[in-house]
């Protein structure tokens, strides 16, 4: 699939989002639940700010020493019988996985939810080499059956309702029962159990890898990732290169931050730490283990002012806090990474060409920055992106550039500023009715499509002040 989803331009995507009232209702209620869960979990701890500080320090230290920790990680995985492949590009990563699949003569591949494999388009690659790929996370399975991209990084099928899901199951899998979530889930359990038992290859992502021991950790609730890593003979874990932590002591902190910030759980049902292959005297678990460490655009973020974007632990707290996301939904971002972190990360990973509108999809209200459990200054990154788009990339609209040049002149020339505030009322007169402007000209057009704009005051403040001073002088 890749990072980019769909070819529709930004404005069309946004409009489609706004018009999708079911999706908006679903997103809004989900956000409400996510938020209250997160806030309650933070409150229970009582010292959430300390946790955030610790999270930030851990992530910062790790990024600053990333070469060391990735080296240690790969040594440990090797020691435990695993193979490690460092992939610079999506193509390299996919080719390696295809090669393993071929060697294993794998027919069926079961996967647990992983954003990085979405990002590199691994499913398509495996299908191309003749494998049947089954997504086993409930949300991902729904999307796979429906050939729909994810709209949220934690609950990917957030935009769908149970009736749509029932229909998908009925059309694609012959489901005959009701749209009760329990019945739908039971059907998925029964259908996918067969796939787990038959699969030759299990593919997972990696929430965090522990450098000191080589453990790949998966944070889940459904149990599918445990199936994927217990039953097939081969396990391939794919991780973004930034998803490493130094030791188990740091692991538990970032896991605690993740589960609390994501869903308000103290821990999810399953935190599973897998190290290498199964031991010789063990019965279940893979006999062959591969870890694919992916760059795919991350490396060039290191050492830049955007480095802290690599601190992200993919909890989606910023997405759940974002009022823009609430009104437009995940697909409007045109990226598998939506919301504030998506607006920061997507142009970094995939360039400005296709994603130059994303940094503007924010009011800079900083709800994202406040929600982030590892203190990524998301709204500041968005402003910095805008600067780059305007100044380095020269991608600002000409009309806007012209307006801003005018602004600079106006705001740095007191006489011009004074004159304009004095003249504003007269200038707006043609559009003013009862002290309101209902259909504004130029840049005000969009504003006044949904709300009124006030008429400038009869006498501005500085005139009042000048007259007051004069009166005082005379008195």
């Amino acid at each position: 699939m890749g990072i980019k989803i769909g070819d529709k331009p930004y404005a069309e995507r946004i409009q489609a989002g706004i018009e999708n009232s079911f999706m908006r209702q679903a997103v809004s209620s989900a956000q409400g639940r996510f938020r209250s869960g997160r806030l309650k979990a933070a409150e229970e701890l009582g010292d959430w700010e300390d946790w955030r500080t610790l999270g930030e320090e851990i992530r910062h230290h790790t990024m600053e020493n990333l070469d060391y920790y990735l080296h240690q990680l790969s040594e440990q995985v090797e020691k435990r019988g695993g193979t490690v492949f460092f992939a610079e590009t999506a193509e390299e990563a996919n080719a390696y996985v295809q090669e393993v699949a071929k060697k294993k003569q794998a027919r069926k591949v079961v996967k647990s939810k992983s954003m990085v494999t979405e990002e590199i388009g691994l499913n398509e690659a495996l299908e191309k080499s003749g494998c049947e790929v089954v997504e086993s996370d409930l949300g991902e399975w729904i999307l796979q059956l429906d050939e729909d991209p994810p709209s949220h990084i934690v609950t990917p099928a957030l935009h769908k309702n149970k009736e749509q899901i029932r229909e998908t199951f009925a059309n694609k899998k012959g489901y005959t029962k009701t749209d009760q979530p329990e019945e739908l889930a039971a059907f998925a359990r029964e259908q996918l159990r067969k796939d787990f038992l038959e699969a030759d290859l299990g593919v997972t992502g990696c929430n965090f890898a522990v450098a000191e021991s080589g453990a790949v950790t998966l944070v889940t609730n459904e149990g599918n990732a445990r199936m994927v890593t217990s039953l097939p003979d081969t396990h391939i874990a794919v991780m973004g290169m930034e998803r490493v932590v130094p030791t188990w002591e740091e692991l538990e902190v970032v896991v605690s931050l993740l589960t609390r910030a994501a869903v308000g759980q103290k821990l999810t049902s399953y935190i599973t730490a897998l190290t290498g292959t199964r031991l010789e005297d063990e019965t279940d678990g893979p006999e062959d283990f591969h870890l694919v460490i992916v760059d795919n655009g991350r490396l060039k973020i290191l050492g830049t002012e955007f480095q802290s974007a690599l601190h992200c632990i993919r909890c989606a707290a910023c997405i759940n806090a974002c009022p823009v996301y609430r009104h437009v939904g995940g697909h409007s971002y045109g990226s598998i990474y939506p919301g504030p972190i998506g607006a920061v990360l997507t142009p970094l990973l995939d360039g400005y060409e296709d994603h130059k509108d994303l940094p503007y999809a924010s009011t800079l209200c900083a709800a994202c920055t406040e929600a982030c459990p590892v203190k990524i200054p998301l709204h500041e990154h968005l402003i910095r992106h805008r600067e780059i788009i305007v100044e380095r990339e020269q991608r600002g609209a000409k009309s806007e550039e012209w307006m801003m040049k005018g602004f600079a002149k106006w705001a740095s020339t007191p006489a011009a500023y004074k004159m304009s505030t004095k003249m504003a009322r007269t200038a707006m007169k043609p559009w003013t009715k009862d002290e309101q402007i209902e259909k504004g000209p130029g840049p005000l057009k969009g504003w006044t499509e949904s709300r009124d704009f006030p008429a400038p005051a009869k006498k501005n403040f500085r005139e009042w002040y000048k007259q007051r001073e004069k009166r005082r002088g005379e008195a």
Partner: protein, 238 residues
């Protein structure tokens, strides 16, 4: 205590009454208020749109206008926060950075100044009516002024405050966002207006003219019978 009023371009042009109330409030507490006439706009519209070089021109004008002041006080959390950004924005020009730092350090939002500097928690004002308060994003999250407006409003005689549902959510203003992403902004402010409606309040009070113009404009279009007031207007009401 000498205080320079930082009026903000919106209050100057659209709501001069807010400026008058701010001046009178400060004078009531013994401040000697002046108005540096060479002030313009803080530069935020350009800065937040990515036009940093253009914004810097506005910043330098503002620094020049306020350099001589003892304190700078403005009736806007967002514009005051912009001034706090100056040293960072000017980090590549050491001389200007230093001058920016000096101005930033003495600049306060009005309620913040009343509570933190003047140590006033009760301005002895009277205002009859029910109202709901919208805490603006930049004032609360970036400037960190969360308690001062609440403390001051709670002490206003006759004022009955009703909590605004989802009050911490952005109203959708976002400066140029309201123009560039007008449709999304419109949806956001609609939701906010609905929450205001749910409170049944007669008045909406806020501390930032940009947000108030946005919410007020939406309620005016919706024919909602809610009057919009800047917090300075309530605090200076007798």
């Amino acid at each position: 205590m000498k205080v320079s009023l930082f009026i903000t371009c919106l209050c100057d042009t659209f709501t001069p009454d807010v400026g008058k109330d701010t001046v009178q409030l400060l004078e009531r507490y013994g401040c000697d208020v002046d108005f540096p006439a060479n002030q313009t706009c803080c530069g935020q519209p350009a800065f937040n749109s990515g036009y940093k070089q253009e914004a810097i021109k506005a910043m330098k004008q503002m620094i020049r206008a306020f350099e001589a002041s003892q304190y700078v006080v403005g009736p806007s959390g967002s514009c005051v926060q912009m001034i706090k950004e100056y040293p960072h924005a000017l980090k590549d020009e050491p001389e200007w950075r230093e001058r920016a730092q000096a101005v930033a350090e003495k600049t306060y939002e009005l309620t913040q100044f009343l509570v933190e500097v003047l140590h006033v928690e009760d301005v002895k004002s009277t205002f009859q009516g029910t109202a709901t308060y919208h805490p603006s994003c930049h004032m609360t999250r970036l400037l960190g002024v969360k308690d001062a407006p609440r403390i001051l409003l709670e002490n206003v005689e006759g004022l009955h405050l009703i909590e605004l549902p989802m009050k911490e959510d952005c109203c959708g203003f976002g400066g140029t966002f309201a123009v560039k992403n007008a449709a999304v902004s419109g949806q956001m402010v609609d939701e906010k207006a609905q929450h205001i409606d749910e409170t049944g309040a007669e008045y909406l009070i806020g501390g930032d003219m940009g947000c108030l113009m946005n919410m007020g404009g939406c309620m005016s279009r919706n024919k909602q019978d809610v009057k919009v007031l800047h917090i300075a207007q309530v605090l200076n009401s007798q």
